[in-house]
Amino acid sequence: MTDRWSAWITGTAACLTVAVLAWIAADLIRGVGVVRWQFFVHGPEDFGRGGGVAPMIVASLWLVLISWAVVIPLGILAATALVVGRLHQWPGLRWVEWALDLLAATPSVVIGLFGNAFFCVALGLGFSLLAGGLTLGCMTLPLFVRTTQIGLQAAVTQHYATASALGLALPTTLLRIVLPAAGPAMSAALILATGRSLAETAALIFTSGYVPRMPLSAFDSGRSLSVHVYDLAMNVSGGDQAARGTALVLVVLLLAINAASRLLLGQHGIGILHSVNVGRSNTRA
């Protein structure tokens, strides 16, 4: 009897989950109608009811690349520092981790206000993709750091004693063994961070703006795909179909970025960066 109940409850939960996914998929598929090749190369016309989303794709790519430029180096360094700090029992480490978790839980609209005050106004970047990308970097950094830290910690637990017993220098242990071993975790962290960046609207409205023109540099303002979806769905009557098409492009772009970051950091670890073959078969003699 208990078995039947538990099967029933878990089955229902599974069906509900799939139903949500199916609803989203159906909405996206309804957008296929507007997605022609012109959709990718033209700018919007008639407030987005017609034309394409080329400027938004370019703006979104700019934003993701700028946020990566912040998140990848800073995030790897910060996560490494946290792991090394734990090894050496640095005081105050728990406070840093607590601050990161607090930052990760901060609503994106608050991060947007900070980005506006700091990057747009204080640093004088104005409404620009650079300000937007940097804000996204701040927003996703804690998530990236904590996820990477888990991967690094696992690698340290597994290999640090052995490396120490061999008398390896700490930089060698970190660069050649621990960081490459944490490659898959970093890849996962980057995918999560990118997903959040691409989905973000609130933080961007305050920082990168929402002018739907083709950005010519990182100092131009621009409208991301998700801001465009929001605008079409909320402010433009008759923009629903174009919103669905844009959402479809957004999802496909996210999948493409996932695949790319897996290639960069996943299977081969960050071995690509250190020309180390990590955990994969290689039959060269």
Partner: protein
């Protein structure tokens, strides 16, 4: 019938001066004592085998010889260990050089997630041993010595984790002896291996004794009987490990001084 930690059955003189000299070693994790007042000497080019039940501090003793205990938070060591005459807990002691001179092999094989070749070359390069050609020669020599060369010569750039458990353990031994240690610490190196692989490791340990001093922790009394020149028997009292008796293996197996040793080595205890 409390164990006598300082019991000693032979005197050490002249050329037999101990390579490792442990005096009154006590190890605590937080407030808990795991090893109490151990005094023990390891003679050069011999195999000292340490036996005793689980949890009596054998691995802690081994890890304190190359100061791996430094990595354990809250681990506090008192007493003294001299390695080749040098007190290793002295302030400013070069731990990196100590660990190069003392090889350490864990229970489970611990290859790095790198290729076989990189597993062997990376530590040598980090310690600045030889140029590329010399390293290549040394690696080939050592792989012959551990009996791996013929098995893996055609796939040196394959991932080390693809090797069998026994091969991985021999690779780890090769990696350790490439740094030309004078002492090798083995912490139950065969406990996760099949009997055939274990036998190969045993043969290798016997061969290695010709050029280095070996301290072997084992649970297998039969293995201890086959390999040990000297034997140390540990037991716990009041929750902490203590050295009950140590001396030449033959004597301990035939005429143990302590009743506990007799019971354990004859298989009546543990």
């Amino acid at each position: 019938m409390s164990p006598n930690p300082n019991h000693q059955k032979f005197t050490i003189t002249g050329d037999d001066a101990p390579v490792i000299d442990i005096r009154d070693l006590t190890a605590r994790y937080g407030g808990r004592t795991v090893l109490r007042q151990v005094s023990l000497q390891v003679r050069p080019l011999r195999i000292l085998t340490i036996v005793g039940p689980s949890g009596c501090g054998k691995s802690t003793l081994l890890a304190s010889i190359n100061r791996l205990t430094d990595l354990i938070p809250d681990c506090h060591i008192t007493g003294e260990i001299r390695v080749e005459g040098q007190p290793i807990f002295q302030r400013g002691y070069d731990v990196r050089s100590l660990r190069r001179r003392i090889g350490w092999i864990a229970q489970r094989p611990t290859p790095f997630p790198l290729s076989i070749w990189e597993n062997l070359e990376l530590p040598m390069r980090d310690h600045g041993l030889g140029d590329r050609r010399q390293r290549q020669q040394r690696i080939e020599q050592v792989l012959h010595r551990v009996g791996l060369w013929e098995e893996i010569r055609h796939r040196l750039h394959a991932a080390a984790t693809e090797l069998s458990g026994g091969q991985q353990q021999r690779l780890c031994i090769a990696r350790a002896i490439l740094l030309q240690p004078t002492i090798l610490l083995l912490d139950e190196p065969c406990s996760h291996l099949d009997p055939l692989s274990a036998q190969r490791i045993e043969l290798l340990i016997k061969e290695l004794r010709q050029s280095m001093t070996i301290v072997l922790v084992t649970h297998h009394l039969a293995q201890a009987r086959r390999l040990a020149d000297d034997l140390a028997f540990f037991w716990w009292r009041d929750g902490a490990g203590e050295l009950v008796e140590w001396g030449a293996a033959k004597e301990l197996f035939t005429q143990p001084q302590h009743r506990l040793t007799d019971a354990y080595l004859s298989g009546d205890l543990g």
